[in-house]
Symmetry: C2
Subunit: 314 residues, 2 copies
């Protein structure tokens, strides 16, 4: 009888569930809606029921299940306690204990950006690198830190929140978190657009970007690749901030590798070329050899990492 | 027969050696000179001979020795390999293997600021706090990061080099490391003096500090305590930078506690009061509850931490 582990990535609208063997080979993936109503009280029972149905359909008994790992969009500490996941309507409670009560199998829980880092380290762009940082460049900037192959969850579950490092004193617009000058205000997809709008306003140079009804990060990188001079300047400014922020992280942690994920990372190797000059300028010399890689698991990283988390904690 | 562990703190001029029982009770402390000549090849043999003499004098056999831990002023990775400790004349070699060859007992090695953090966590101001950062505010700024009670050595031994985080874009003087705007340029004892000289130049206000032949960090804090207005402004500016830098560290790691050590920490609780406003302004809200404490072991922290390091690795 083979053994099975489930990895669950809880998003604000959809829950993605993966079934894996203990070596991390994917056996099935499916999705269910995230019911965030009534303070999100149905989310975990829905997940438990869906996994139990899958188990019944595949003739998998409880004894065959090594565990269920869960990644959620909010701070989760090492004990599995979530501290306010606003997108899910959740306050503070212990996910691990609750889910173990519902399912009767071993459960582990972590922050979604953190478990994504673990997934990339297990099966993706950071494979085999025990001291690794993953930065997810999406609408916001998420981070996950691995030391000796294990996640740094942080004392109250906020470990790896590198999107909210202060890196710019002159910022006048507030970040979503309420602070001014957070890394996320520049290094996210939204940051690319903010930098772009500012540069477009500050120059009279012609640019194909001026013709667009709404500027996106993707447009800007595409125009830069096509040789648009203003777009090139925008991506260079973006790379400046990305490199500067990651230099601070590398100086603090001296990781072997930084993995770049999220929507902006679709810009590919270009991104690494763009961040290198300011990274090299600002990083401490002892961490100058930090390697960079692109994430390879895309939206599956969270599922893989959640499965890995529960395997690590057995 | 009781068991014994030795903790060794190698400085640029003096080696401090402590003899402890396994619970960390200090049984003896002594010093020997650091012979940095001939690329520092005598340093480890001198230490081994000195410990062996102490063992003979106290009738301690090799079998009674749990291990020897060594902290050195340079980057040391998890395997015990040092990567250029310039103050000792050392290039790259494995301290653990070399010293085990000399002594025939278990050896562990780490960076001095890192093992000092481990010492404070074991027996000092951070006692019992597994997720802890220690910052040593001396001539420079050293850092040590503990996650789950274990040191973050970093891939090439440069973990916790928070003194070299970039925190100020407008700096025109270079840091010792060659970069501009490092945390250490403001948060060290030297930083207090630099901030002081700049403020004294920028104002015409009377200050007792103007009468001093040479400004020191200690003078500035003393004058501030005595109510000197300019000195108060200097310490507030110092607190601003200290809080800002530590806010970045806390945002990345979400530690339970930050322990302040080194010469400047003799300013005591005042220091915590001074750093709090900018810490609270710049830190991510999820890490806002980070607690602060003062180091309590002084120059003994390295010895304690070195002993603890080898006990952890047994």
């Amino acid at each position: 009888m083979s053994s099975t582990v489930f990895g669950v990535d809880v998003g604000g609208t959809t829950v993605k569930i993966g079934m894996f063997d203990p070596e991390g080979n994917k056996q099935a993936v499916w999705e269910i809606p995230t019911r965030t109503g009534d303070s999100g009280i149905y989310i975990l029972p829905d997940i438990a029921a869906s996994i139990q149905k899958k188990m019944a359909d595949n003739d998998i008994r409880k004894d065959d299940v090594l565990g269920v790992g869960i990644g959620v969009p909010g701070p989760v500490d090492e004990t599995g306690t979530v501290h306010n996941a606003v997108n899910l309507g959740w306050g503070t409670f212990n996910i691990r204990e609750t889910m173990e009560g519902l399912m009767g199998v071993k459960v582990a829980a972590g922050n979604d950006a953190n478990v994504a880092a673990l997934g990339e380290q297990w099966k993706g762009g950071g494979k085999g690198h025990r001291d690794m940082v993953m930065v997810t460049l999406g609408t916001g900037v998420g981070g996950g830190i691995l030391v000796g192959g294990r996640l740094v969850a942080g004392y109250s579950g906020a470990g790896g929140e590198i999107g909210h490092m202060h890196i710019e004193d002159d910022e006048t617009e507030a970040c979503g978190c309420g602070n001014y000058g957070c890394f996320e205000e520049y290094a996210s997809a939204t940051g690319v657009v903010r930098i772009g709008s500012r540069i477009l306003k500050a120059t009279r140079k012609a640019s194909t970007l001026r013709d667009l009804p709404q500027l996106t990060s993707k447009d800007i990188f595409a125009a830069a690749s096509a040789g648009d001079e203003v777009a090139v300047a925008i991506t260079e400014k973006y790379g400046y901030y990305l490199g500067k922020g990651l230099a601070i992280v590398a100086t603090v942690l001296n990781p072997e590798m930084i993995v770049l994920g999220g929507g902006v990372s679709k810009a590919g190797e270009d991104l690494i070329r763009l961040l290198k000059p300011s990274f090299t300028k600002y990083v401490f010399h002892g961490a100058r050899d930090t390697r960079f890689a692109l994430a390879t698991l895309g939206n599956d990283a969270g599922m893989y990492g959640a499965a890995r988390l529960v395997l690590q904690q057995r």
